[in-house]
Subunit: 195 residues, 2 copies
């Protein structure tokens, strides 16, 4: 997605060969117009998939998931990283390790909001090692729901998450695929047969 | 806001005299159409206020803040409850006690995204004791920014947060004001001179 790539080049900060910081529009400050465009793009790519629910994880997944769900006309469910005191009912759970925060989180989704009747689109901000994605997919499986695929804002293609997911047969649609962050430079991957 | 009140009556669960659970559309599953309506309502109420930034706190504030910011044509900044490893720059900080989770959080906003040039609308999901609101107001003050007011989805008017904030001169606009949760019943407050 050209608009997103331009934004990354303009405002993204390469902190190391592995870390791209996009706090100005995705992870701390949010650009609502860009979010709307991204939501429309995800919705378009999965338009024929009869999605009934968008699943994401707090916090940075919520905004792009919301805009996608608004376009698709379905609800969002966001997995919680901590169990709330008011989340008392039966839940699906999966373990997710965060490399950014260097901690293990148990992610939780209430059984009230995901069932075997759902066809799920998972949306998240980043795909790197695929830990969050794997946790969310586990939750979709626990619910016995169908997985339509993953919509990712920024995929770090030099890390193995996306490759492994695609090899396992999961459809992954990333709006920007970063091939390298070496020498402080963002280089994008260009896939064949893709816009 | 009638649509929201109807949703609360239909789907809200009164867990005690103090706790109203609205996980089906605000705190775990999100209703994008309702979010859009609420965003339009907040934007309308603060339309003449020259807002330059919407400030909220992760996670449940993000969706209504996003929709408000989209209507107003300004960015959102969400305060983080934990400092991210990639949040390396100078920050504003304030302490917030969460009664729901029974824990103290240090909330953090990067100095890059809030300055003395900003006129800020704070958006949050709930207002009860006003702890989160106070923390966010402290951050607006630290940035030497102007505070236009607070937009709250559900105010628990039987708790003191809203009253104290209004007494201190802060404009608080709540879309639904819950007067009581006694006997498992949601009773709304009707303010004079308000829709």
């Amino acid at each position: 997605m050209q608009l997103l790539k331009e934004k990354i080049l303009l405002e993204g900060k390469v902190l190391s060969d592995e870390i791209l910081k996009v706090d100005s529009f995705l992870n701390h400050q949010l650009d609502p117009v860009l979010m709307k465009e991204m939501g429309a793009e995800f919705a378009g790519r999965f338009a024929d998939q009869q999605i009934t629910k968008v699943l994401t994880i707090e916090s940075s997944g919520i905004a792009p998931a919301m805009m996608t769900a608004l376009e698709l006309g379905v609800p969002v469910v966001f997995a919680r990283k901590k169990k709330s005191l008011t989340l008392t009912e039966k839940v699906y759970q999966a373990e997710v390790f965060s490399f950014t925060k260097q901690e293990m989180n148990m992610i939780t989704v209430s059984k009230d909001y995901l069932s075997s009747n759902d066809r799920v689109l998972i949306i998240d901000d980043f795909l790197a090692n695929g830990q969050a994605a794997k946790g969310l997919i586990q939750i979709v499986k626990q619910a016995d729901a169908d997985l339509a695929g993953l919509g990712i804002v920024i995929e770090k293609s030099f890390q193995e998450g996306g490759k492994k997911l695609r090899e396992s047969g999961v459809r992954v649609e990333s709006l920007a695929e970063v091939a390298s962050l070496k020498n402080g430079q963002v280089t994008f991957l260009s896939r064949l047969c893709k816009n």
